[in-house]
Amino acid sequence: MFTHSAGGSDRRWGAGPNCGRVLLSWINRAPEFGSTFNQDARWPLSMNKPVLPADVDFDNYGPLYAARKEVYPQSVSGTFRRIKWGLMAFCLGVYYLLPFVRWNRGLGAPSQAVLVDLPNSRFYFCFIELWPQEVYYFTGLLIVAAITLFLMNSVGGRIWCGYLCPQTVWTDLFYAVERMIEGDRRERMRKAAAGGTPKLRRVAEITLKHSIWLLIAWWTGGAWVLYFNDAPTLVKQLATFQAPMLAYIWIAILTATTYLLAGFMREQVCVYMCPWPRIQAALTDEWALNVTYRYDRGEKRTSLKKASELRALGQAAGDCIDCYQCVAVCPTGIDIRDGAQLECIQCGLCIDACDTVMKKIGRETRLIGYDNDINIQRRLAGKTPVYRVVRPRTIVYSALIAGVGAIMLYALLTRSLLDVNVLHDRNPVAVRLSDGSIRNAYTVHLLNKRAFDRVVAIDIDGPNKATIHVVGVDSASPDRPMIVLGRDQTTELRVLVTAPSEDNPEKSTPVKFRVTDIGLGEVASATDNFVSP
């Protein structure tokens, strides 16, 4: 960080194993973002001093990687903790229970509301059924999801990371289990530090913790496979060991990843593995509200007693009483008072911790809160803070979300549930018959995306005096063959179009295949060519 070299601090660049992390933090911090400070000094925006590589004493022989510092987050209660519990219950509830929600699609069709039917290449979401060629709807969904992330970021920073990301949600749940069994922060730290042979109670605790973790992880994997098969049936099969091998393999894989990611890797996933912190650092701007320590509430940070002594001497002292509660509750083990940093997932728990303390000592809450540097500077200058949630950036994001959403919705509502594709025979392109007339053969695919059988008629437009014949179909109306299309499937037909050569002197005439649903009147068409030999 800027402070390390410019502030005369004795901590030097790369002086320790944290070199890589510090560098990352520095790279991920846009200059206008980071008027950060430490207890010794504070710099306004204009005073950031560039750091030249030549000035930095890199340690070329130290270890390349920093060992993980175990984190023991303390329990906390407050507004953001409540929001997090609520969102966790909601997200996990949706994930675990959604496969069991039923949806009536009629006889013979899957009755699961959300189902990825891979063997039949169908995707079901309530009233929507998608065929493989309609996967582009997912593209739209992904675009909306990406822009929504951008919007969240420009309004409230890493809302995704702090509240909704599966990594955060499951890690939070695993921490809750750990806390329930092993006790709160101090107790866990004490137990972890205790040497010697573990007592039976300790062994039991550890066994119980890992068992519950594995149970959650197993349930996570189990819920995943239910999205790919009829859930109640698969649950029965799984319980009686009759489910497909693949189901067990996937459950095993997801059990392992959940157990490892939420139980052991935890904040390291966010800090080292996840690209999103890097992306968000590039996306954020000066108006975005991030979890911020408001240093405008004064420095320096010291205990209540010392602070009043300092004040009595006419020296400055801040609202922060240096109680380290914000550090104690942090699930990534950082000090938010060091300013915005890569490791911070902005879960808001430090806000709750600090508010609790501030209430106790009778000071104004939100010493840590959702804020930005502009407002800190404004308050320092004696101005009122300004919050600009609505600004060109957020307007553009919202408009894009609305636009893409509207396009998708329009495409979905107006899509045809009857479709026809025509492929002209290439060998032979055309055949001359014994009476001199010309015959062209086509492979016609008819797509019936409705959940019921229906009868369609095929007409052709184009070549003069053309007749149509469908191989294998004896239609009551030979000039207008009627075909029965099975529900929710593609029907392949071999269609012969014959026309007199004297009436069709052109080398090639466009021919339009028009498919009409006799009952509903729905029409689909496709155009190809009628070729003379």
């Binding site: 018959l433 009476d435 001199g436 053969a441 004896d474 012969l496």
Partner: protein, 290 residues
């Protein structure tokens, strides 16, 4: 070699002790991980020799304890494929030809299987698209020498044409010129007459009455009074637009002079009956079937 390796003063590393005109080589041993990997590979290789085929012997090879062979794998997969096909082909064998064509599932099977079987067996003469060539009929059109119904096509595929099979189609066009039945100028005259049957222009100075007379005396027994042909005898229709050996005067003269007797092999015994059925329906579905 010096037992006590020297230290190189520039790099501070030990040398191998080898000295070439005052130049010494630094001792840079292989990395430990590399050496370990190397030893592991050797152990792995020994295990491989024991389990898998590895060593060539005088007349065979060491088969290994697993007795693995890729050829056996192929045989197993081919057998599985046949077994898989067998179930579907059984349904095909049980159905009648007309039913196969009307059943969308069986028709789809026939179209898929037919295409590959046709490519393997029929394409050399009839072409991959079944368009034929001179002397080899186009199977897409509606002109059939021996009949274009499902049963007739099946019959032709089973026993062939002039194939030597007892049940084969056997009649042939006489060599009117070679056998001395018709004189060359008569052949030219009747050739022009045959062209006139399907509306093709005739040569200048051609005697239509003489042509009709020659035709009536020699050709009608097979090709019919009006030249419409006879599928019982494989006699082509001379009044249509399709000519297996060409419709120009030279080709016709050659046909009448030397006769024609194209051969199609019998497929019974070469293809199983379900496949022959599939081929009959496939050929019929190409478009020309009656």
């Amino acid at each position: 070699m010096a037992e006590q390796n020297d230290i190189d003063h520039v790099s501070g590393k030990t040398t191998t002790g080898h000295d070439w005109d005052g130049i010494k080589e630094l001792n840079t041993p292989l990395p430990r991980w590399w050496v370990l990997t190397f030893y592991a590979s050797i152990i792995w290789a020994v295990g491989y020799w024991i389990l898998y085929p590895a060593w060539p012997l005088l007349s065979s090879y060491s088969t290994g304890m697993l007795h693995y062979s890729s050829r056996a794998d192929v045989a197993v997969e081919l057998a599985n494929l046949e077994k898989k096909r067998g179930e579907k082909m059984l349904a095909l064998g049980a159905a009648s030809l007309a039913d196969i064509e009307k059943d969308p599932a069986l028709l789809a099977l026939v179209r898929a299987r037919g295409k590959t079987v046709f490519g393997d067996n029929c394409a050399p003469c009839h072409g991959s698209g079944a368009v034929g060539a001179k002397g080899y009929p186009n199977l897409n059109d509606d002109d059939w020498l021996w009949g274009g119904s499902l049963d007739q096509i099946m019959q032709t595929i089973q026993y062939g044409i002039r194939s030597g099979h007892p049940k084969t189609h056997d009649s042939a066009m006489l060599a009117f010129g070679k056998e001395g039945i018709l004189k060359p100028e008569q052949i030219v005259t009747v050739a022009n007459y045959v062209r006139s049957l399907s509306g093709l222009p005739t040569a200048q100075g051609y005697d239509a009455a003489a042509g009709a007379k020659i035709f009536a005396q020699n050709c009608t027994s097979c090709h019919g009074d009006t030249g419409k042909g006879n599928q019982e005898l494989g006699a082509p229709n001379l009044t249509d637009k399709i000519w297996l050996y060409g419709s120009d005067e030279t080709s016709l003269v050659e046909t009448i002079t030397n006769g024609r007797a194209g051969v199609m092999p019998a497929w019974v015994g070469r293809l199983d009956s379900a496949t022959i059925k599939a081929m009959a329906v496939y050929v019929h579905s190409l478009g020309g079937g009656k």
